[in-house]
Amino acid sequence: MDLLANLALGFEIALSPWTLFLAVIGCLLGTVIGALPGLGPSNGVAILIPITFTLGLDATAALVLLTSVYYGAMYGGRISSILLNIPGDEPAMMTTLDGYPMARAGRAGDALVISGVASFVGAFLATVLLALVAPYLARLAYKFGPAEYFALYMLAFMTLGGIGSNNQAKALLASCIGLGIAMIGLDNTAGGVPRFTGGNLHLYDGIDFLVAIVGLFAVSEVFFFIESHGKGSAIGVKLESVTIPWRELWVTRWTMLRSSVVGFVAGVLPGAGASLGSFLTYMMEKTIAGPSGKFGTGVARGVAAPEAGNNAAAGGALVPMLTLGVPGSGTTAVLLAVLMTLNITPGPTLFTDRPEVVWGLIASLFIANFVLLALNVPMVRLFVKILSVPPALLLPGVTMISFVGIYSLTGSYFDLVLMIGFGVMGYVFRKLDIPTVPIILGILLGNQMEDNLRRAMILSRGDWTYLLSSAISIGLWIAAILGFLAPFFLRHMLKRPVAPDEANED
């Protein structure tokens, strides 16, 4: 058994009191960084890079620390999603859809426990898959060219209609606005032509999605709070006692397993990443459940699916990074850079040349996972205490953290102004019942979608049939069209038999 021998090697390297200590510190830091709006896993890891240099950590210790922060942030992002309706980082965005309604119904503790366990299941399965099949899965990236990636992003946008709002046209409008915002910045396909920047250098890199997330969610929440004097906010909701919801954990078991697999595959594809993983798994579970699943009203499956999905994707993203040197997400790009500075060059030969690094990393992922589960479930009691902080203190605190987090991105006040602009936009849109999640997805995926379409057109000399030239792209297009049409049919099929009050549900 090579695998067991390799794992033994990994644990031998990674399992020392010093690295365990680093793992605990990393997990705690990561959870906090993930929970803070405006600071996501990629900033978290980036902030810690100089510290690993200063401490003079060796390769294994540095990797243990940084991957603990990475996984910790993936866990932590959900906390503010659920408690405050403010995603702590971009993959946790989907968790607001059902997590926050659960919190408002007084079930914040349940939502946190379910999402914590789902995170564990997703991350654990992803790590197992990483250990088992990483070298073979690397070949998957060779199968994805521009046409296939474009079809993958189409799949995401075609399924957007059913999200958040009952009105498909509003979701469409929101995603178009997001795509439009994504167009701001340098156009790299045509050779660095600035678009919609007004000559402002701050806009050359486009608009950072974190600025948009914090603006649309956190700042607009503040406006709502001011308007309503705190009424209609989850803040101050009376809490029931926190118990472990065994029954709901059991009910969501298949959701967690399915979402882990889909999330992992989304992570393996470079350029898709955790956000797409959480989005696709949420929409998949929503479609499977149909209208009777009541997604968006605060159901356990709506929390379990995106959390299992995004944590599995975080593990999946390590596959192309380690085996090809291609980062599958912003965070793995930072981790890749760390590996290079530690004189480890990821690529096809990494698994054979440096087994101690790879298996040490995998072992440290397992360790981080168990540490996180052990930290997160008992700490739910502590997290929900946040809601008992007087709103007059809590909301200004969250706002300040958001400002500091965004300022740390580029160190310019420009992003802060932009963030407030997004806050106003979020406030107006929520008044109009236009969902904000599609806007973020548009910003996150819009550039990639455009770039891949244009690359495909360059390679095919403008021949549109190139987009349907492989089995993979045809399959993805079929899935996209089915995903677009499914909500209509499902609604019709279910409308007839159910009682009128059920049908009015959405």
């Binding site: 803070l36 994805f144 250098l201 701050h202 192309p320 291609v326 580029t410």
Partner: protein, 321 residues
């Protein structure tokens, strides 16, 4: 209580990010931690202090934005006479300046003080490609310019795009705008697309493909350095195959334009000392860089020449007017 803790942590994180001590030498890396520019600042900064060229540790500031443009405009507008400031630069800096990608800023607004290492350019095909030599590929492109699509890690018109075009020009081929090029997210992504068969060749840097050479999945048709690269002696240069093209991604520094000639010379000497140190030689070997030392006025003249060449080529392919 909890929120206070969060605030303290967040503030601490930001302070460790942007804190700058007065009077110490500062190195601006115009990108986030982890990239090539960050590496330049951290390595050169550390060695400067270790070998006693500066009296206190060099402070590294990360100023990401506009592909280095934000740092460039900050230096020009706010720090123009600061003799204790150095900024990490590479071929990307000179290419972007040549193509007016820094919002109207020009190369003469700063002084390029030196390069002390370089990542040689490469032209790579998949192992199953019909092209065995650079000439095979050049002839195929001459026969049908659209038959060979290139993938590279820089945007269209960027440094990676220029390499195959320079080779074709050296081969006497002029219809270079017909050659398809797609810019993807980094060299590893470009090589993946090439092995996957979506593009016929990859243009990039040596350090980006070392793992793929070792795994036998690619064939390097040419390395674009003056001499063969130590450790990869079996890879021929473009020059020895009859195409006079040298394209290396140099790693170096620029300093503010308003400092005196004496201050400029101080930095040139310090950089020369770093280049000669054992620490730097180790750092180069560890990061796949080949020796490439040009400092002071020599370097400034060389950069000016490269920029003029890039301007000419960029106009030809329509990236700039």
């Amino acid at each position: 209580m909890k929120t206070n803790l969060l605030k303290v942590l967040a503030t601490g994180a930001v302070l460790s990010f942007g804190g700058t001590a007065a009077l110490a030498t500062e190195c601006i890396a115009p990108a986030n931690p982890g990239g090539g520019w960050d590496f330049t600042c951290r390595q050169i900064g550390k060695i400067l202090f270790d070998i006693g060229q500066v009296s206190s540790p060099v402070v590294v500031t990360n100023m990401a934005g506009a592909g280095g443009g934000l740092a460039f405009s900050t230096v020009v507008n706010e720090r123009n006479t600061d003799a204790d400031l150095i900024v990490a630069a590479s071929s990307a800096t000179s290419t972007r300046l040549a193509q007016n990608a820094y919002g109207g800023a020009t190369a003469d607004q700063v002084r390029f003080v030196g390069a002390i290492g370089a990542d040689p350019g490469v032209i790579v095909v998949a192992a199953d490609s019909p092209f065995m030599t650079l000439s095979d590929m050049v002839e195929a492109i001459k026969a049908d310019p659209t038959s060979v699509a290139f993938a590279g890690g820089s945007a269209a018109g960027g440094f990676d795009h220029m390499k195959p075009l320079q080779i074709m020009k050296a081969a006497g081929f002029t219809d270079i705008t017909q050659i398809p090029y797609i810019g993807v997210d980094g060299g590893a992504d470009a090589i993946t697309q090439t092995i996957g068969g979506f593009t016929q060749a990859m243009t990039g840097d040596m350090s980006e493909i070392v793992g793929f050479i070792q795994s036998g999945e690619v064939r390097v048709l040419a390395v674009l350095s003056e001499e063969r690269v130590p450790g990869f002696e079996d890879i021929p240069t473009a020059v020895e195959q009859g195409y006079n093209v040298v394209a290396v991604n140099w790693r170096g520094l620029y300093v503010p334009g308003g400092i005196s000639d004496a201050e400029f010379q101080v930095w040139a000497d310090r950089l020369q000392a770093v280049a000669e140190s054992d620490e730097w030689k180790e750092a180069m070997a560890a990061n796949g860089l080949a020796p490439f030392t040009k400092v002071g006025n020599d370097f400034q003249t060389w950069v000016d020449g490269v920029i003029a060449e890039t301007v000419e080529l960029s106009k030809e392919i329509g990236v700039i007017q």
